[in-house]
Symmetry: C2
Subunit: 404 residues, 2 copies
């Protein structure tokens, strides 16, 4: 029997009625003859509520204990969904990350999956049970509970789909797929029917909130077809896959923006070899992901190094950067949270030149100053002032002809 993995996000299981709705959808797939493994996120904003509780206990709660705490969110929704499915007369069983054997490294709150046992799931599937897996969580070699960080439930779903050889990994969410831009900002934004892994990866990295980039990476590595769709309708969503021969090679497939990064600048760094390695090595050792990096041209033996990190990592980043700055004899460290990143993504960029130049021109035309630039084969990102971000997205969406 063909296996599909379905993942339901927090908005799809926000309350008892929505969980019952998910139960019905799962059973529909079962009735069509599929074996089904379901991965669930925590109910609505349950995770945020738990994090709020943690911060009432401690100014910087231990990350090991944070994982013990927040992993309960998915455990709760997995049990509730199993009950709802059973109530409709189908056999279902819930599993925690430990029970599934999702072994991760020990980097609490942002752990990486090392391997998945899957023995219990395979056994339960063999007994014709619908398997419900608590997303977002795993266990390290010490038997400590870990969580996978942002988009962790997506990663659980894709990884399970890969290990179990699922035909497709369906990601259910509260929108109908991936859009050419955020429809709340750009009213004529269109749903995209088909994306390559690379495009989806870049869109996700650049702020498309519908899917997390690590899960796309995983899907590409194991060639797991993804279908991003709405849990509230039966419409076809956005399919993400490797083979793109049929795809019309649009130059730009989407515009995204991100306002959750902060810019950190280490000022007047002595321009000597090994300095950057020392700084970014220390930051990486804390498990902090650095997005964009620029280093200005050296003046009088010193240089300014700027980079962006998630705002949530800012205080830790400042701590590390200030320590390293004083070790290496830099003048100081400054932080700026009022920035935004706007990006355009498209596989067509590979064969079309001048796309970046056109982007800069459009932003200039709106009088928007560009503070940092980063490019990949199929993406161009610019850091701008946060107040300019909506104007930039609308202008780029129009300029690249993405409207409906």
């Amino acid at each position: 029997m063909t296996l599909i993995v379905q993942k339901y996000g927090g908005s799809s299981v926000a309350d008892p009625d929505k969980i019952k709705n998910v139960a019905k959808r799962v059973i529909e797939s079962r009735k069509k003859g599929y074996r089904v493994v379901v991965v669930v996120s925590a109910l609505g904003n349950a995770t945020d509520e738990l994090i709020k509780l943690a911060h009432m206990m401690a100014s910087r709660p231990s990350e090991r204990e944070l994982d013990v705490l927040i992993s309960t969110g998915e455990q709760i929704s997995s049990a509730l969904l199993a009950m709802a499915i059973q109530e409709l007369g189908y056999d279902a069983i819930s599993f925690t990350g430990v029970q599934v054997g999702i072994v991760t490294d020990s980097l609490h709150t942002k752990a990486k999956i090392l391997k998945i046992g899957g023995r219990r799931i395979e056994k339960a599937l063999g007994e014709d049970k619908i398997c419900i897996v608590a997303g977002f969580q795993g266990v390290d070699v010490n038997e400590d509970i870990t969580t996978l960080g942002r988009g962790g439930s997506d990663i659980t779903a894709v990884a399970l789909a890969a290990v179990l050889g699922a035909q497709v990994c369906e990601i259910y969410t509260d929108v109908e797929g991936v859009y050419t831009a955020d429809p709340r900002v750009v009213p004529d934004a269109r749903k995209i029917d088909l994306l390559s892994y690379e495009e989806m990866f870049e869109l996700a990295s650049a702020g498309a909130r519908v899917l997390e980039s690590r899960s796309v990476e995983f899907a590409q590595k194991y060639q797991v077809p993804i279908h991003v769709r709405s849990s509230f309708s039966n419409k076809e969503g956005t399919r993400v896959m490797g083979e793109m021969s049929d795809l019309e090679r649009v130059v730009v497939s989407g515009v995204t923006s991100q306002t959750d990064e902060a810019k950190v600048s280490v000022l007047k760094v002595p321009d000597k070899p090994g300095i950057a390695a020392k700084l970014f090595g220390a930051i990486a050792a804390e498990g902090i992901v650095v997005d964009m990096i620029i280093q200005n041209i050296s003046e009088g033996g010193t240089t300014d190094v700027s980079f962006t990190v998630l705002q949530g990592d800012l205080s830790k980043t400042m701590e590390v950067s200030e320590r390293i700055a004083s070790e290496i004899g830099a003048e100081g460290v400054s932080a700026d949270e009022d920035i935004a990143k706007v990006s355009i993504v498209g596989v067509g960029m590979r064969t079309h030149s001048g796309v970046a130049a056109k982007m800069f021109e459009v932003l200039a035309g709106e009088d928007i100053n560009i503070e940092m630039i980063s490019t990949s084969e199929i993406k161009v990102s610019c850091i701008i002032r946060q107040e300019d971000v909506e104007c930039a997205v609308v202008a780029l969406h129009r300029a690249f002809g993405l409207g409906g």
Copy 2:
């Protein structure tokens, strides 16, 4: 270093401020030079809220899934308490039932502890950490999460105290100890300073809500001294222990009542050997504990069998009883939830005769009808109408001279 185990109930960790208060108390013991293992219940009424959610999902939620669901309550409080202790500068670590190696049977929602590993706790204690254990939960041989039923956190605490060789198991609660009667019903009820395990066991079985009978049984078996006390004061509470030589042998040490039982009657049961075994065997197979049993004198070849169970077990009990009733050719089954049990407990009963007779006399004097009677060496219990229960407790408390 001497080890103590402390257990904090739901009312002691009902909100963030109370958890911080518990953190301070734990640290006080640490400062006195003790090694401390703390067992916590779920926050306030968190467990009830989760059970309510479950019943919104299914009319009779699967007990395996119920355990997955409600075990999160203690996991949350253990992580929060660990954070609060760390915030005050002490090293603490939380453990789930799985991590502690609390292995139980597979009787979900009322599992029994088979063995406790304790390896991780011993290691952490050796590293001078304060260990916080999520109470009420364990894991069966299939790695499924189980819960220990009512008073489960007390059982976790006493069992850990036994395994780890603790000097004392302190049970922190919202009252100052065990009382001669419920102070809300009997204003001049007194706190009892010292109780034997047997007395505490009978008081707990008979409705003293402060400690669960199974945990007292466990404490007696392993001779773990218990100290029931308030988490909001430093006053000496009630000590429960085996050696009672110093204890003034009062005839009756306390009066308790219970209104959470229901009476089930199987009517016109053919009076043949093996019938009772069949009925109560089937009920026990469902993990339902039967409290009192009476069988009337046989008339015309049939007899009525009445027994009491917890109201929470009533629907399941009715199901089983009706099935067995039809199998054995009984006339039918009736249920009555408007009953109450009133009990007197005291080690002095062993050597004083006439205590039961005096109890019946007191109830008769209040015009209260006795429907069922059960006695042990140190306890007499009567089932009466629920509306008479407060009157009965007040009258018995006065008649046996328990007032302050």
